[in-house]
Symmetry: D2
Subunit: 262 residues, 4 copies
């Protein structure tokens, strides 16, 4: 399991949430509390939007806690919408292209979860990615494959629908794979304007996700960033948060396999 | 273009050819002579056979010339059959899984060349890899894909035939891809007993390859490792070297597309 | 020999000079023209000033040419005064703390040159660093030691005088070291307001340095960044450039050993 | 706090203790039990003796648990006397030269502990290192400085006496530094023939150390490598183990400041 945060709101320095809080993302890299892995030391990444349409990316294989560059960059890079992720690998190699977030055009994606028994279903999931998106397959993770499959399923026009369609298809693939592993999908997706944060699991054990509505901004995180848990509300399993220009909505996120067949 | 060496013969320390000669592989990493890229600084790797059936691997993203570990390892690791490779990327990321040599079971492979316009044909080449070998697709290079396709085409029983069949199929894929880029394949393949070193190009510009027959050993290299060029003979384009237990044979290596259709 | 650039002027994205020009700093990392080392692949670094008094730093051991992060960061980080450096090590290890630029408080420093026979004189040069600055001795290079010695010699109040005093003292140390190696010092020093760029050598072979006066900005670089050499003027050996708020002055930079004795 | 193991005995593959046991050194890198830091992810290193007088070294900044090379090397490298170390930094940077073990000539050293308030006393400890050993000061850690000070104090002829003298001197430096931090020294030192493993603390809280006498070999480790604790005996604080050609002796290791004054 990995840990991540996403922010949407007034433009701020990334350090405000990545480095500064008592239980910041960097602190979670070496001491996560609500995860089966307390150490998330298999690389990390930042993605942020600013003056360009395409987001910026900084990904590194070293643990976040010992990266001097990370503290400098978080202090100087400012953004109205950014992602931060610390990784605990579930098997794929610790390389930069395997670190989250992933980018394609103006889209960013990051994930904490599990896509069935990945070695068994990898080819069938990769086959969901249309050629034009397959060129952006820089790594070998399940997460990147799901991201490109979502975009390839119409995600650039209809991100929520495409995510539902893709997960439904993958649920079908997993079901017919013969290996009974769940699909757990706690993920963030954005085009630089709208932030979508999903919490879903096929088996009722969805990976943790919280949000804090700050009025003019929202923070979504795998774990509360500070002790003040009254401010942090869990995103219920089977729901998603959509944040856009200061407005937040919490919506059910469900689908069934028939969607995939359409 | 990359640079590589392969050795088969009496058991020796790897430094004998990787580090010691005036124009050793490490020297070629920063000053290759017969290559379009004089710098081969996009990672490197060693693969060697010893007391285990499966070869050892050491791959690193840093340039070979500045890696202190490499000099220690080359001094202490001894082998009767080993590969060394310094990489100049043709586009894929500088990650350890993208560094040569590649291993699967008891097989090792490394490559210097070009497989058409890789982004255009990647999916069709990856589709040649059977499922049982696709699990060993740890990186994203063309070279690793060709290796796994060769093994999947029967390479473990018939390495030369499978290489010819795979290249013929790829030549067909390239020809129908609409992008007129050549297939250039200067590669080494071994199971720990026999060393196969191929030099082939679809367009008459095969990447350089030399060999030195030392009586009880053979060294094959992209460039001569010393000034004594009289000892180094070019492997002619369209040929392969097979070295096994001190015996070397030079054979034609040709194929045509009909092979692929069989 | 290394390659570096420094910029002072209107706030711009770092990519304007680090990545975009035909012979940008990144291009120079793999193909420098006016250096004994065409490859500068032993790490690199960026330092920049912005909204904080202390500069930002990004340093990495991989070659600049293959670092995907670097291109993203250069695109998003904007500054009115920044440094970029690609390193060709003269012997010290390729580690992040050995990459330029170096920072202490609001000061940045980078260097291309040689400080006598460093192993012979290292202890005596390190002894020039007062305790309060020695705590910032994170690496083992000659360049960082000279930087901290300059600051310790009053550089924060009188950067030019302290640089002259320190080099004079070092020249004395070198002269009495018994090893006849030159002192070559082509370096940049800034507090975020004034940019000082020095070109000096004890033996008449000063490392190259050029500047381009753009009216409202100045660029100083080891090599011209483009073919339009008419815009690039050499900084004469034994001179320094001082750039501050759009005004540039070229001044003689000389000293003699007696200064050190004062 | 770091974790380490040392082995002396019949020649074996390093994996026997580094990788294979249930609570191997690699396992301890992500889940140490008897340490204030359960994660030891700030680099690691191996040092081993074989056919050369000078030991081999492999040091890397990535965590041990995710380094694919480490498993290959541990499988192929065989030694009669080797060290393995996983690092939890107490402040100095995560660089290869700061990873243990450290080597000089035929000597190897590694350490788990604390040398007073290092920033306060660093210069005075570095001043203990004679010039001929200062050339091997490749990093910036307290541990490397203590190692070179021991060698410089006659450690090559009298390793136990020189260690006692150096620690006595350092104890004096710490006592007069005004910062009341302890000296804790749980360390291994070898010349390839004799293995010395020390457990000492100035404040009665010595870092853990255990040994297992296997008859023809001995393993010394920060923590038992398996559940069978009956085989593992603690090295008492204020003692050292000397292992040489199958014979083990446990001796008191004490000194007082007067030694330093001699």
């Amino acid at each position: 399991m990995c840990r991540w945060i996403a922010y949407s709101g007034q433009t701020i320095a990334l350090e405000r949430y990545v480095a500064a809080p008592m239980h910041s993302l960097i602190a979670q890299s070496i001491g996560a509390l609500e995860s089966s892995d307390s150490t998330n030391g298999d690389g990390f990444g930042l993605g942020w939007y600013g003056e360009h349409e395409e987001p910026g990316l900084y990904r590194e294989v070293r643990p976040a806690w010992s990266d001097e560059n990370l503290r400098h960059l978080c202090r100087y890079i400012r953004s109205h919408l950014f992602f931060g992720h610390v990784r605990a690998s579930t098997g794929t190699a610790t390389t930069r292209p395997n670190c989250h977030p992933f980018a394609h055009g103006r889209w960013l994606f990051m994930h904490n979860g599990q896509i069935g028994d990945w070695p068994s279903i990898r080819r069938r999931v990769e086959a969901l990615i249309p050629d034009e998106y397959y060129r952006s397959r820089y790594g070998t993770t399940d997460s990147e494959a799901v991201f490109l499959a979502i975009l390839g399923s119409g995600g650039e026009r209809d991100p929520i629908g495409a995510t539902a369609r893709t997960l439904a298809t993958i649920a079908d693939i997993v079901r017919t794979s013969g290996v009974h592993e769940p699909v757990r999908f706690t993920a963030a997706l954005s085009d630089g304007r709208d932030l979508h944060a999903f919490r879903y699991a096929s088996d009722g054990t969805a990976n943790s996700l919280y949000y804090r509505d700050g009025g003019d901004h929202v923070v979504v995180a795998s774990e509360p960033l500070d002790q003040d848990h009254s401010y942090w509300k869990p995103v219920p399993a089977g729901h998603l948060i959509v944040a856009s220009k200061g407005k937040i909505s919490l919506r059910p996120f469900t689908f069934d396999s028939r969607i995939a067949a359409e």
